[in-house]
């Protein structure tokens, strides 16, 4: 038996299993204990979110005095928490509606820009022959490992003070105020997203059939034309995969928002506000539960409806090397 194991690792990824036979074999694993363990894990993984959701619909005095599990004994349902946390006018309430819009305004361009730029770059790296192509690809690939912490301090000073070298101003400060600050959040998110975006899209675009590209070239199509009419439609699933990734990343991000968007309700995203509420009003559970759910609901919808693309992108981005 043991002698047959070593060759297994090689080439195991390529062939897909025949389900019927394998199913019979694996059924042995699915004994009662196995099912029980699986159910326990599933419950542990779902209960915390479920508790939060139930609590967000309970009246304030009940949230603060009894556990959410008592809800089923004595159900009392209210939307007051959501009303308060979204639209309440006092400074201590969430005012999350405003932050919700900020998150939207931040997210849309911060997804579109890297998507377009990375698709262009990935196409050039895969299908245009030019000197130094491999080096440019390796360079961009390697940038994936640079933690964004490495860029935060200088990038912030670049926005606020510009760049000058030896007294000569190479780039002026951006001097943004109010809603204009969104621009620097978009800029930061776009820069930080590009290495992974190029890598992921390159994985897909470089695997398009070579014959197709050559045929198009012979027909006299230029690179921009091939890119627009052939490549983009074919890699639409990959674009969707990265789009979802980036959407979840930007919507859920705290660090970049905290540093580049500031803390006011003019530009700060939901996450920044929620983190602030959790810090300063840690016991106001009626606000935290409803607020957390407001921030969770959009990515959850995106995620559940587009899960197929997300998983495909995840596998392409992590397993293929």
């Amino acid at each position: 038996m043991t002698t047959t194991t070593p060759p297994v690792a090689a080439g195991a990824q390529e062939t897909s299993g025949r389900p019927t036979r394998a199913a019979r074999v694996r059924k042995r694993l699915n004994t009662h204990t196995a099912t029980l363990v699986a159910i326990v894990i599933a419950v542990v993984w779902t209960i915390p979110t479920f508790g939060l959701l139930v609590s967000s619909f309970r009246p304030e005095n009940q949230i603060k005095t009894t556990g959410w599990w008592t809800f089923f004994r004595d159900p009392e349902f209210t939307l007051q928490n959501y009303q308060e946390v979204l639209f309440g006018q006092s400074a201590s309430s969430g005012q999350l509606a405003s932050y919700f819009i900020n998150s939207l305004v931040i997210t849309l361009p911060a997804v579109l820009f890297p998507l377009a730029f990375a698709a262009l770059a990935a196409y050039a790296l895969a299908w245009i022959n030019f000197r130094g192509r491999d080096w440019v690809y390796i360079g961009i690939f390697a940038l994936q490992i640079v933690p964004l912490q490495m860029a935060l301090v200088p990038l912030l000073s670049f926005f606020s003070r510009g760049v000058s070298l030896g007294g000569i101003t190479l780039m002026p400060a951006w001097n943004l105020d109010g809603a204009q600050n969104f621009a620097q959040v978009w800029f930061a998110h776009t820069c930080f997203a590009l290495p992974f975006a190029v890598y992921l899209l390159h994985n897909f675009i470089s695997q398009l059939p070579k014959d197709l590209m050559e045929a198009a070239r012979v027909d006299g199509a230029t690179h921009p034309k091939i890119f627009r009419t052939i490549v983009l439609p074919l890699v639409a699933p990959a674009l969707a995969a990265f789009g979802i990734f980036q959407f979840l990343w930007v919507w859920n991000d705290l660090l970049v928002g905290l540093i580049f968007a500031g803390g006011s309700d003019v530009t700060a995203p939901l996450t920044v506000r929620l983190a602030e509420l959790a810090g300063t009003r840690g016991n106001e559970w009626q606000r935290l539960t409803a607020g957390a759910f407001v921030s969770i609901v959009v990515p959850l919808i995106v995620f559940l409806s587009l899960q197929r693309y997300f998983v495909r992108g995840l596998l392409a981005g992590s397993v293929k090397g």
């Binding site: 194991t5 070593p6 297994v8 690792a9 195991a12 389900p19 394998a22 074999v25 042995r28 699986a38 894990i41 599933a42 915390p48 979110t49 508790g51 939060l52 009894t66 556990g67 639209f87 819009i101 939207l104 305004v105 849309l108 770059a121 050039a124 245009i128 022959n129 030019f130 490992i145 933690p147 490495m150 860029a151 935060l152 301090v153 990038l155 670049f158 809603a179 800029f187 930061a188 820069c191 590009l194 290495p195 230029t222 921009p224 890119f227 859920n252 705290l254 996450t271 959790a278 810090g279 559970w285 935290l288 539960t289 607020g291 959850l300 559940l304 998983v311 596998l315 992590s318 397993v319």
Partner: protein, 350 residues
Amino acid sequence: MDFDFAEQAPKLMMLLWGLVAFAVVVGGLLVLLDAVPAFFARRREARFVAASASGAPLPGRPRSREGLFATFFLLPTVLLLMIGLVVPALRTTLLSFMDGGSQNFVGLDNYRWMFADDSIVRVLVNTLVWVTLVPLVATSIGLLYAVLVDKARLEAVAKSLIFMPMAISFVGASIIWKFVYAFRSEEQEQIGLLNQIVVSLGGAPRQWLLDSPLNTLLLIVIMVWIQAGFAMVVLSAAIKAIPADIVEAARLDGVSPWQMFWQITLPSIRPALIVVVVTISIATLKVFDIVRTSTNGNYDTSVIANEMYNQAFRYGQNGQGSALAVFLFVLVIPIVIFQIRNLRQQRREG
């Protein structure tokens, strides 16, 4: 509902500007790339006509403009990476050798401070605990679950349940778990699930997030909760890719499920396993949101990324903050080298 839509107008205006800028930049680039070659083609044609009319030697084949195309396709990406990542990273490295106000060089002082200051050493130790435990536990649970639900009824639903936390922000997840860890004094009814369980088992409620080192472990639970789904999805796909005849052959040899797991499944999915561990390790090294939202780094729970934020953006210590960022980067490098080595080894075997 008093919600002032007029107040939101500037933001939506800005969004509009952003989208217009996007259309102009990307559309403009494509139009430019279409127009420029067409222009050259027309000029060449004109020269060709002129040459054949005057009887001069015909111009040769056009030079390849591949390089020109490549430049324009790559321009936005390379430019943004330079401005947004490469130059700032180099500058951060430089700043890590300067003082808090970035005025004078201080040599290795910031790094010496990092390993001498007790509170920072604590931060480094915490980070080490995170980066050891999270990949290990998250991958184990993900693998266990992937094996258990493979080919089971309702597999898709079962997987979605574990996978869902991946869509939730770290901030949201921290609030969810803070609520689980919530504390009420002994006389009161508990509102946190964990304390309720402890009380119903006859124990006394505890302030979970205040007790070191237990609080770090409880924060690690949050990260595991988020990352296990990622591990599960990738490993599940790898398990499904194991060739059926290998599994069949093993079955004919009469191996037990236990042997099957250790001798067939595990060696087969080794490459995927390594990718998962590496990816989770790197994500864990950079963890910031969970610590900041749950405890703000108090009660001995801080980690490098959180301390870096505090030093650079709260205390105005750019030098010390930069040194921590550089150290974070240095910690990522061995993990990546390990990954590259493994990839190479796989290629040689494969």
